[in-house]
């Protein structure tokens, strides 16, 4: 895998970007600038960043309601994402979707699907289209370990495997589905093993180590693109924040959270770079400053945004012109 300095610093910057962006989101939620459900990815950044760096721009991504990090890592601009959370017309979805429904056709970012496991059949279909049109693109779908109990997960894995489709299934196993711990939702908690029962190549990866994530993703994406059929990666990770801003967190104890924070992927990579003398305080300060500026600009963009006219409520219920 690519271990040169610039690349590692890019990975670090990508994670820091997501972290700072979401820390700001949390503040803006308190300030009631952002409303509805807000699900933060803080703690899991290594997964989206590592996987996206293994993709081509023309590969597709389907994500969940916890998708700010995936959108940013896939190349969606911070401004429109923030504007979307503000409910502004300049948002990725005209302010109609909010935090849970980011979309970006240009970057082949298919949402922002808030039906747990609902995105899996969609990704299978995107891959089916590529397969039938002889395109060597990969479709990547992210979902949590809780989604693996859903029937749609089962049907999607069987279809993708049966038809040998170019799908990369990325399970973000953060040990909880809202308040439901893995062992209370899955009879078989070795998720990669579960997936391999569908005849797909599957393995578990340390989701707190962005280099490990990238290495696994590169291998899996190569396999998928080469016609090796769907692959499944279980990323063992953890969310540092509550499920959503409404979550009283009655179901896990502080000690567990603290222990996982010890494994925060951002300081981990920073230490690694420092140990190799690949990064200096100045570099870090510069990076943080650049990211802070980007987040400020995103907030400014959102603040400056406009409101969609209520006259447009029914606009795009159907397409405006026939796209044949």
């Amino acid at each position: 895998m690519n271990t040169d300095r610039e690349h590692l610093i890019d990975l670090l910057r990508a994670m820091v970007r997501i972290r700072r962006f979401e820390e700001r989101c949390a503040e803006l939620y308190q300030a009631e600038k952002i409303r509805g459900f807000l699900h933060l990815y803080i703690g899991e950044e290594a997964v989206a960043v590592g996987v996206m760096s293994a993709l081509r721009p023309d590969d597709a991504v389907v994500a969940t309601y916890r998708e700010h990090g995936h959108a940013l890592a896939k190349g969606v601009e911070a401004g429109p994402i923030m504007a979307e959370m503000y409910g502004k017309l300049e948002g990725t979805s005209r302010g109609r979707g909010g935090s849970m429904h980011l979309f970006d056709a240009e970057h082949r970012f298919y949402g922002g699907n808030a039906i747990v496991a609902g995105g899996l059949p969609l990704a299978v279909g995107l891959a089916l289209a590529d397969h039938m049109m002889d395109r060597d693109r990969v479709s990547v779908v992210f979902f949590g370990e809780g989604a693996m109990a859903e029937g749609e997960f089962h049907e999607a894995l069987n279809l993708a495997s049966l038809w040998n489709l170019p799908v990369l299934f990325c399970c973000e196993n953060n040990l909880y589905a809202m308040g439901t711990a893995l062992e209370r939702s899955q009879a078989q908690t070795q998720l990669a093993l579960r997936a391999s029962a569908y005849g797909v190549s599957a393995w578990a990866v340390d989701g707190m180590d962005v280099m490990a994530v990238e290495e696994a993703a590169v291998r899996a994406v190569e396999g998928v693109r080469a016609g090796g059929g769907p692959h499944f990666l279980e990323f063992q990770t953890y969310r540092f924040r509550p499920h959503s801003m409404f979550d009283p967190e009655l179901y896990r104890d502080k000690a567990e959270v603290a222990a996982w924070k010890e494994r925060d992927p951002i300081p981990a990579l920073e230490q690694h770079l420092r140990a190799l003398d690949l990064i200096t305080d100045a570099d870090m300060a510069e990076m943080e400053a650049a990211v802070a500026a980007e987040v400020d600009a995103a907030v400014a963009f959102a603040e400056a945004g406009t409101w969609e006219s209520v006259d447009d409520l029914t606009r795009f219920v159907h397409s405006e012109e026939v796209s044949v």
Binding site: R35, G36, F37, G87, K88, G95, R96, G97, G98, M100, H101, N113, A114, I115, V116, A117, G146, A147, A149, E150, G151, E152, A177, M178, G179, T180, A181, R184, S185, Q186, D247, P248, L250, Y251, W307, E308, V310, L313, T314, V317
Partner: protein, 331 residues
């Protein structure tokens, strides 16, 4: 006339919780099953505290498997239990519709009367919390179309507290819709209140100029519209359907036969809504009673948007109800 000692104040959320607790204390066959109702405390905090009181066997957290655990609730009902199955929202109930319709609603009739299914399925419905299109819809009308189901829509503290009791006594499947906008509503409940029936609409405000038929989360909106209409000297009767199946056509006709004017308020999309059924029933049975064409105030026919001003504009609001009533009255 009640004195303060005869009544107490509680929220709709507390009323539902109390109803569940009461049922579980009274009948050991009753248990609650659903996603995050236990350890998490319930997505809308309805079941908060019940896990400590009743333990994980009877406050049973389920995996994300709507068809699976709703089907298991149906099976447990066939096995002699009295399950209360909670779906996290009506949007996710689409994943369980096969079990609710093809099994729960059909089994008694299809088995020639042998297998009744005493299951109660509860779920939050409706919009207004800026949670966008996949968490804000109202599909009650689909359930109201299905023979074999009883469909309840408690809109008051009393019904929130006491309809569940009647539903659990019912030998057949009952689906209860709780509008998310009502959970925080607080109001008085008489200490002498008791089980409320699974049939019959209720006049929440009587009036003589127009009948406003509504249900669930829109009852408070209709009442506030009626208030402002009163300021303009318009006396509006507000009829809360309470049950969407069976529909109390008699009460609708009775009210319309006195007011001769009808406005139906329904948070569902207008086309093929419960509101359509209400108007159709009146047209069939009391056409000559109508002194003006009836009107519907429904959700704009589009997915519910996130932005607050757009969501507000999409949903029925008191101002819109007032406008509709006035136009029906030719004012």
């Amino acid at each position: 006339m009640t004195t303060t000692t005869d009544v107490r104040t509680l929220t709709y959320r507390e009323a539902v919780r109390e109803a569940i607790r009461h049922a579980m204390q009274t009948d050991e066959r009753v248990f609650l099953m659903g996603e995050d109702i236990g350890m998490y405390g319930g997505c809308y905090a309805v079941s908060k505290g019940l896990l400590d009181e009743f333990g994980p066997e009877r406050i049973r957290d389920t995996p994300l498997s709507e068809a699976g655990f709703v089907g298991a609730g149906i099976g447990a009902a066939l096995g002699g239990m009295r399950p209360i199955v909670e779906l996290m929202t009506i949007n996710f109930s689409l994943l369980a519709l096969d079990q609710i319709v093809n099994t729960a609603a059909l089994y008694l009739h299809m088995s020639g009367g042998q297998f009744n299914v005493p299951v109660v399925i509860r779920m939050p419905t409706g919009a207004g919390r800026q949670v966008a299109a996949q968490h804000s819809h109202s599909f009650e009308s689909w359930y109201a179309n299905v023979p074999g189901l009883k469909v309840a829509s408690p809109a008051t503290i009393e019904d929130a507290r006491w309809m569940l009791w009647t539903a659990l006594e019912d030998p057949d499947p009952v689906v209860i819709f709780e509008h998310v906008g009502l959970y925080a509503m607080s109001g008085e409940l008489g200490n002498d209140a008791g089980p409320t029936p699974l049939d019959g609409a209720a006049v929440r405000r009587s009036g003589s100029d127009v009948t406003i038929v509504t249900y669930g989360g829109n009852v408070p909106k209709a009442l506030s519209a009626a208030d402002s209409l009163a300021d303009d000297g318009i006396s509006a009767e507000v009829l809360d359907l309470r049950m969407l199946r069976p529909l109390d056509t008699g009460s609708i006709l009775y009210s319309v036969s006195r007011t001769h004017r009808l406005v139906v308020v329904d948070e569902a999309w207008k086309s093929v809504s419960v509101a359509a059924e209400v108007i159709a029933s009146v047209a069939e049975h009391a056409l000559w009673e109508l002194d003006a064409p009836p009107a519907r105030v429904c959700t704009v026919e589009a997915p519910i948007p996130y932005a607050q001003h757009m969501e507000e504009a999409a949903l029925p609001q008191p101002a819109g109800i007032v406008r509709a009533v006035k136009s029906v009255l030719g004012r």
